[in-house]
Every structure is written in structure tokens, then in C-alpha cells.
């Protein structure tokens, strides 16, 4: 149920953008419980319970096994693939004391130093990063 059942020209165009998972209605449905778990971490008592026993706390949410593993391993790209949205995941990495830049670096596969340097040098160029079907763009 998490994939569009019919051709969807509007959504399809975004699939051509490299390295990008756009949060659409299908992914929102797929990631509903994962994202709601993240929302629960907006309360201090829940953060405490989660930190005390992550596996036990996760039982409160009907996550898929893939979602559960992604959370426990802090595999941010996997969480995105399982329907997570970055602003929801932010509650989890904030609970961990991590920053957006740290997590962004992890998702690119770079070390935080390399990533921070790339940003200081003006960021990732759009050249070659615009289209899967036309890498020259």
C-alpha cells in the first residue's frame, strides 16, 4: 500500500532527482508509526524511557522489523527509505544529542569533518546532481 497504484506524473518527476527521497502520501502512510514514534520523543518522560531501554520502548509502536532495526542501528538512510521524514527523525537525533549537520554527513557517507569542509567551501554543487536520467545537467 505504500507505493502509488497508478501512474502519477506529478510524483514520478521527483524520482529522477538523485540521492533524494521525497516525502509523499505513500511514504507518509508507510512511515506513519515510525514518524509517530519520533514525535513521542517530544516529551522528556518518553525520552527517558527510550534511553533507558530502546527495544522495550519501541514495543509501544507497531513498527515493521525493518523500521525497528533502522532505529536501533541509527541508520538514517534506512529510516528515510522506510517512510521516515527528516523533521520527525530530528526528534530522535536530538534525543541522541546529535545535530542536523552530523546526521546529514552520515547520510552522505562522508565523515562530519569532510562534510563540514564541503559546506564551508560552498556546499554540494548542483552540477551533475540534478537528474538521474541526465547526469550532465
Amino acid at each position: 500500500m505504500s507505493e502509488p497504484r497508478f501512474k502519477n506524473d506529478y510524483l514520478d518527476q521527483f524520482e529522477d532527482v538523485p540521492g533524494t527521497t521525497l516525502f509523499n502520501a505513500h511514504r507518509s502512510r508507510k512511515g506513519f508509526h515510525l514518524n509517530m514514534f519520533c514525535m513521542s520523543l517530544m516529551k522528556e518522560e518518553n525520552r527517558k524511557a527510550f534511553k533507558a531501554n530502546e527495544e522495550e520502548y519501541l514495543k509501544r509502536f507497531p513498527l515493521t522489523e525493518a523500521q525497528r532495526q533502522a532505529v536501533l542501528k541509527r541508520d538514517w538512510n534506512a529510516m528515510i527509505a522506510e517512510g521516515g521524514n527528516i523533521y520527525f527523525l530530528a526528534k530522535l537525533f536530538s534525543t541522541d544529542g546529535l545535530s542536523y549537520q552530523y546526521v546529514a554527513a552520515q547520510m552522505t557517507g562522508a565523515s562530519q569533518e569532510e562534510y563540514a569542509r564541503m559546506m564551508l567551501e560552498g556546499g554540494r554543487s548542483p552540477k551533475g546532481n540534478r537528474s538521474k536520467s541526465n547526469p550532465e545537467l
Binding site: F14, T20, S94, M119, G123, P126
Partner: protein, 288 residues
């Protein structure tokens, strides 16, 4: 009558909030960023509005995946700062202007913009960081604030044109409010940035600069930018710039650029900030 006199846009990068809250403003990384707002704070103090309409996106704080309003207007007396995972930001509670907000909601809805009404809502960094950047860190915010939350998280967000047209409807609403009030509109978020996946860190200075130029030169051209162009050219989170068009639509056709600041990087983001003033400052007749 109430009158919109100026519009301000600024990014609302959460790391700016952390730099303020953790006293890092004097670190070399942050000095140029806060320096970029010195003029703006002075300008704001000299042109202090009564009410600011802050167009921002809620980052999964007031609205989760359970309820996703495309446009929601805050009509409450006050809006407490949300706990985004590290405790609420130590900023003052945001005071609303329920009378004007309800009037804007009525006027816009009758104008066929079906706004969602939020009578209880917490506000996150998307709203409070722009207040810090323009008003500093006072004990109480010096203005009343009407939050206008826009969905830019789950696709599709509203189109740029819809945002611009909503701005126009808001202008009409404000100008039909009988009380003399000086109103500004803040458009927040942007500019180019991508926070997720292997393409995170994308920055497009050329595109951003053109966008900033066109806010005065050709705002109608900006309303025609399709979602895919924002994503391709400015990263998945660059779509936040549609919110700047609500601000632009709320101003007159003829505006003057008072100030501009653009800085890379601010965490993962190209920070953009602009102040636009209506050229025509004469009092207006109340709209019929």
C-alpha cells in the same frame, strides 16, 4: 486602518537557535551570520511594527503525520515554544493577536482561501528563530505575532502562485481592519538546502541570487516556478521558499529592497535574508 508596510524573509536554520541558546554567537563560525542581521535589528527597532504575520513551516511539532493542514493560521492568545527533542527553546511565549487573526481568517475564507484555524498551537524553531534574528533576545517579544503555518513537508506543498495569491488575500484582509496597526509579514525558511539522503548539502548560490533579485524585479516569474525546479535546483528542503511568496504577495507590486544578506554555510543551508518595503507609504482608503 491596519496596513502592511514591509516584508522580511529569512532562513530559520535550527542551528542558529542552538548558537543563541548555547551562547556560541561569538564563535568565528557564527560571527558573520549574526553580523548579517545587525542592520536588520536596527532597522526593525526604527520601524517597529505592531503585528508580525510569520509565515513558517511547522517541523513536525504542532502537526504530526496525523493532521497536515496546507495553511493554518494561529488565532490563539499565545503560542508556547515547542519541545523539539531537547526541551523547549528558552524564548518568551509568543503573544498572538486573536482579533486580527480571526479577521484575517474570515476575510481569507470568504475570499476562497480555506485556512485551518489553530486555537491552540505550540511553535517551533521555524517561527522563533526569525524573531530572534530580527528582535534579538528580549524578555518579551516586542510585537504581537500571527503564525501562519504552511505544509512544505508532505508533498504536494501549495504552489508558489497559491502562496503569492494568499499573500494578496492577507493584504486585503489587513487593509480592511479598522484599527490603525502597522503590520509586517515575514516569509521564513530556505534558501537552497537539502537535509536528507546522499545529496544532502546541496547549495545553489546562482539560483538563490536570482530568486532574491526577482523578489523585486519579477515576482510573478517566481510564482511560476514548479515544485520540481525547487527540488532539482535548491534541494529537497529548498521548497520552503514558496513561503517567501506569501510575504511577497502581501506587499504592493512596487517595493524597494532595503537590505539583503546571503551567507553559505549555515549548518546545511544557504542563509538568505531580505527586507522589502512598500514604496507607496501614503495612507490607504479602507477596502470596501
Amino acid at each position: 486602518m491596519a496596513r502592511i508596510v514591509a516584508g522580511v524573509t529569512t532562513s530559520h536554520v535550527p542551528a542558529i537557535g542552538a548558537a543563541i541558546d548555547l551562547n556560541k554567537k561569538n564563535e568565528p563560525y557564527w560571527v558573520p551570520i549574526f553580523k548579517g542581521f545587525e542592520f536588520s535589528k536596527k532597522w526593525m527597532a526604527e520601524n517597529m511594527p505592531d503585528v508580525v504575520i510569520v509565515v513558517y513551516n511547522d517541523h513536525a511539532s504542532a502537526f504530526s503525520v496525523e493532521l497536515i493542514p496546507t495553511f493554518a493560521i494561529g488565532c490563539a492568545e499565545e503560542f508556547p515554544p515547542a519541545d523539539e527533542g531537547w526541551g523547549p527553546r528558552p524564548v518568551p511565549v509568543v503573544k498572538g493577536h486573536p482579533d486580527l487573526a480571526c479577521h484575517i481568517a474570515q476575510s481569507c475564507i470568504l475570499d476562497e482561501f480555506d485556512l485551518t484555524i489553530a486555537n491552540k498551537m505550540e511553535v517551533d524553531h521555524g517561527l522563533t528563530i526569525p524573531l530572534n534574528l530580527l528582535f534579538g533576545e528580549p524578555k518579551e517579544w516586542p510585537v504581537r505575532v500571527i503564525p501562519l503555518a504552511v505544509n512544505v513537508i508532505q508533498y504536494p506543498p501549495p504552489t508558489g502562485k497559491r502562496c503569492f495569491d494568499l499573500g494578496r488575500a492577507i493584504r486585503k484582509a489587513v487593509e480592511s481592519w479598522p484599527e490603525d496597526l502597522k503590520v509586517m509579514v515575514f516569509g521564513t525558511g530556505g534558501m537552497s538546502h537539502q537535509l536528507q539522503g546522499p545529496r544532502a548539502g546541496l547549495i545553489n548560490k546562482e539560483w538563490d541570487t536570482r530568486f532574491l533579485d526577482n523578489l523585486t524585479k519579477d515576482p510573478i516569474a517566481l510564482t511560476k516556478i514548479p515544485h520540481i525546479e525547487y527540488v532539482r535546483e535548491t534541494g529537497s528542503e529548498g521548497i520552503e521558499m514558496v513561503m517567501w511568496l506569501v510575504m511577497r504577495g502581501a506587499l504592493d507590486d512596487n517595493v524597494r529592497e532595503v537590505y539583503r544578506f546571503y551567507h553559505v554555510p549555515c549548518s546545511n543551508t544557504a542563509l538568505g535574508h531580505i527586507i522589502l518595503e512598500n514604496v507607496d507609504k501614503s495612507p490607504r482608503k479602507a477596502a470596501a
